[in-house]
């Protein structure tokens, strides 16, 4: 078996596939925490694409962007998990189908 030499598109395909996996998780899973992890997966897919672009376009701006994304993701996780914990205290559940007080 001979695989083609790795180029930008390979990285992009991996990134796209990872993004779709994350999307699938967000749509299909019903546990808030797992949905959150799937979101992280999507962010990571974007990171991979950005790093690959930055490497192949000879431009470090993409990597700076990734640095920012990682930082924002960390902040987001801190707040988001605190929200989940607060929700769990009120509802005793981390299941999205139990959190439907906005629904008629």
């Amino acid at each position: 078996m001979s695989l083609p030499p790795v180029g930008l598109e390979h990285y992009l395909v991996v990134s796209a596939a990872l993004f779709c996996l994350g999307l699938l998780g967000v749509i299909m899973r019903r546990n808030l925490l797992v949905i959150y992890m799937s979101l992280e997966l999507m962010l990571n897919a974007a990171n991979l694409a950005l790093v690959a672009f930055s490497r192949y376009n000879h431009n470090l701006n993409g990597q700076v962007m990734v640095f920012f994304i990682i930082t924002v993701a960390a902040a987001e996780v801190a707040v988001g998990l605190a929200l989940i914990v607060a929700l769990f205290r009120k509802r005793k559940s981390a299941h999205v189908e139990d959190l439907t007080s906005m629904k008629l």
Binding site: V13, I27, R55, L81, V85
Partner: protein, 166 residues
């Protein structure tokens, strides 16, 4: 050898990503979290292959070392009992699979069809000094705003997790 490593890390990343989302072994969120850690670490490997050394280290340090530990903490502290298996809605899953599949097909087809990287030679090292220079000159304002954002997030998280929030 680099190509082989790429295929190895890519396969590992995708496999672990899959295990995060649809895990046939268990429905325990801890398992999902552990597979996400693996996916993140193997993605750091991909970053190294792209010569983004600083980001690879930060990826492990921040994501695997801090964010995922936080996830684990919350999962463990909430102590989600093995949820009674809810009825799987076939319709929901089917629509989800179809829409995501269509999205994936469009993306992959457009990538493969256009050959975006054609003729580009990989160059540029994401070493710490270079990145640091850019961060503190060109991106100084976003960097500072980011630090404020982190502070805000910290205060917000503390406030949210207080027990008697009035």
């Amino acid at each position: 050898m680099q190509d082989a490593l790429f295929y190895l890390f890519a396969a590992l990343t995708l496999l672990c990503g899959l295990m995060v989302v649809v895990n046939p072994l268990s429905r325990n969120p801890v398992t999902s979290a552990m597979f996400l850690v693996l996916a993140i670490v193997s993605m750091a490997g991909l970053f190294v292959l792209l010569h983004a050394f600083f980001l690879a280290a930060v990826q492990i340090l921040v994501y695997a070392g801090a964010v995922m530990v936080l996830f684990l903490f919350v999962v463990m502290l909430l102590d989600l009992k093995e949820e009674a298996r809810r009825k799987i809605k076939v319709f929901g899953i089917a629509t989800g699979l179809v829409s995501v599949g269509a999205f994936a097909a469009v993306m992959v087809a457009s990538i493969v069809g256009t050959h975006p990287g054609k003729g580009l030679i990989p160059q540029g090292e994401g070493t710490t000094p270079v990145l640091g220079k850019i961060l503190f000159t060109q991106y100084l304002l976003p960097f500072e705003i980011l630090s404020v954002l982190l502070l805000v997030a910290m205060v917000g998280a503390i406030l949210l997790s207080k027990k008697d929030l009035k």
